[in-house]
Amino acid sequence: MRLLTLPLFMILIIPLIAAQPGIGLATPLVETLTIDSFPFTYQNKFRVYNTGEEERVFVISISAPYQDVLDWVTVDASVFTLIPGDTKVVQFSIYADSGYQGEYDVLFKPTLLPTQTTPTPDSAMAHLAMSAAYKLTLIVPEGVGPPRPPEEEIPPEKPRELTKTVEEMEETKASTVRTFDKPLLINVPSRAYAYEPVHLSVEFMEGEEPTELGFILVAPSGKNYTLESDSVFSFNEKGTWNVLIVIKDEIIAGNPLEVEYDFGKDLKFRILPQYGIIVVGVITVVIGLYLWRRRK
């Protein structure tokens, strides 16, 4: 009985000491910018903090009331991983070649997406995403730009501007994306060994079109790999990878994945399969020579 006490205690205590996520944001004092003439250029930066207790992927989302205003805005990093206590300075740029008069709120939202969206059985559950926001109001006075022709305004928050698109992530271009609020089953480990095949999968709980779902793996060197929703992948770089879950080209969640190097795994999964025939050949020759000399 006493032997069982410790494991039972561990089982009880583990959920209590789960790492807590936290986000911080330092923003410029500039809250309003008046565009006196076009073309207009402006740059500034904000700092994102990982104030939590675990390594997490941070996604910068940007929203604006009109697509043409959103097109003015870019950031130099839209998805990145931070270890606890670490920070990242994100530079944003506004370049407007022309525009309509009006007052536009641009919202920058560094966001910690949930690392999993699996529901607990027999329950109604909302997973929480945490966003720290910075609002910058751009004013185009009368006379600087023509009046905006009547057109449909992008509803400010619907469809939700969850993240930037993957394509635009690479171009560091801001964008809105479509709604995402469907539960997913995500199978992504938090650690892996280099060159060892790892099974990664993600699927809709309600069995939607699986081809829409997939992964973007971002290596520590910055190299990107696009995978299908059910794939086996061998990580070929040591360090922290970003595993981004995407629907078509939209990022909906992100997990860091730590890849370690182990010579045994390297030998088994890379060296022997790739160079095994050469090794076998060399060993055969050596044994052959040895036997030949013994017979002589």
């Binding site: 936290g22 911080g24 330092a26 004092l29 903090y49 027999d122 329950s123 945490m130 966003s131 609020d181």
Partner: protein, 384 residues
């Protein structure tokens, strides 16, 4: 050939080891200005095998053109003696006349003993006007994010050398003039502390590099998460021994800052709202969430909900859910960003680990498919 060389080495060593009678001069500092008193120690050391008695000790102090002071001490036979292996220190002082010429000054000591030993020793110093120290700010951060380390680098030049410096003070302040985590940070150095020892009521790291008459200080500092956003002043003041000082001012800006994490009222809380099981038409259990916010300004707290889905694709519409604040406001989720707390600040314009309560509730429709429902809701905090 080798024999001659060996004899030379031996002779050299014997000379080195030979007992001697020496005289040294120690000045209190290396720079003096006219009107100031120069004080000096004459240290006479006797390492000969016999006692030596002084006959006279003559000191002359000159500038580059003329004699400034003459100090003479004569001793009768066997009155001022230094035993073998001992040393004695004689202290003298002299006021440098106001008409002394700026430039190199010389102290010359002539010692004579009754046994006929004479020694002459010279020491140089500088005569000049002691100008106030000069501060040059080399680098400082124009924009400061709270809770981040930054460096201020500045140099101080003193024409009397850095040993003339007695104190330095670096102040970073917003509006207050008293030390405060939110508005006022003070870092001080005082002689005789090491140049790298700075005192402060907050974190500070210091590096110093000295070159000739200049010292370059680099201070590493960090402002608190609640440091007031806005324009701050960097004020550097340095004093020298003559109570002269130099002060410089620079402007810098502290950005807005906020950080938050979520905390449940139950143990083992995960970042989710779990309403558990309920029957159609039944009130869902109220779920409380605590948002722990630290910020250097007021914040807006918003919530953005969405429908919950079952694995079979059935929908639990978001408008059955309500979110309440502790100040009485309630919003019904509609998919847009809805402000729950506006301009929230627990203290005077800031929050420190402030617990902001959010209560989620809802009522299931009369007709709803049995199943498991989930989705993603957003908690958005904005510094205002």
């Amino acid at each position: 050939m080798y024999a001659k060389f060996s004899i030379f080495i031996l002779f050299f060593l014997v000379v080195l080891q030979q007992p001697s009678f020496t005289c040294e001069i120690e000045l209190s500092k290396s720079f003096y200005q006219p009107g100031e008193t120069i004080s000096l120690d004459v240290i006479i050391s006797n390492t000969t095998s016999a006692k030596e008695c002084l006959k006279s000790l003559d000191i002359t102090i000159t500038d580059s053109l003329k004699l400034l002071c003459t100090l003479t001490s004569s001793y009768p036979v066997d009155t001022e003696c230094i035993e073998s292996g001992e040393e004695k220190t004689y202290t003298f002082s002299c006021v440098i006349p106001l008409h002394a010429v700026e430039g190199v000054g010389t102290v010359e000591v002539y010692v004579e003993t009754w046994s006929g030993i004479t020694r002459v020793q010279k020491e140089f110093f500088e005569i000049g006007v002691n100008y106030p120290p000069e501060i040059t700010v080399i680098s400082y951060p124009a924009v400061v994010n709270p809770s981040q380390q930054y460096e201020i680098t500045f140099s101080v030049y003193d024409n009397f050398g850095i040993e003339d410096l007695v104190s330095a003070e670096v102040v970073l302040h917003h509006q207050m003039t008293q030390p405060s985590e939110r508005e006022y940070y003070l870092f001080t150095w005082e002689k005789p502390d090491l140049y790298t020892v700075w005192k402060s009521n907050t974190f500070v790291g210091a590096n110093a590099s000295i070159q000739n008459r200049e010292i370059v200080w680099t201070l590493t500092f960090l402002l608190s998460e609640i440091a007031s956003p806005g324009e701050w002043t960097l004020e550097i003041t340095v004093y020298d021994a003559a109570h002269q000082h130099h002060q410089v001012f620079e402007r810098l800006y502290v950005t807005k800052y906020l950080s938050f994490h979520l905390q449940g009222t139950s143990r083992g809380f995960a970042a989710s709202i779990n309403f558990g099981k309920a029957s159609p038409g039944e009130e869902l259990p109220r779920v409380a969430l605590i948002l722990v916010v630290t910020s250097n300004s007021s914040v807006n707290v918003s919530i953005q909900g969405s429908d919950l889905y079952s694995p079979e694709g059935k929908i639990l519409p978001m408008d059955i859910f309500y979110v309440e604040s502790s100040v009485g406001s309630t919003v019904q989720l509609d998919g847009s960003r809805q402000v729950l707390y506006s301009m929230y600040a627990e203290k005077n314009g800031f929050n420190r680990e402030t617990q902001i309560h959010i209560i989620f509730s809802g009522k299931l429709p009369e007709v709803v498919e049995a199943g498991t429902y989930s989705g993603i809701w957003y908690i958005i905090v904005e510094a205002v």
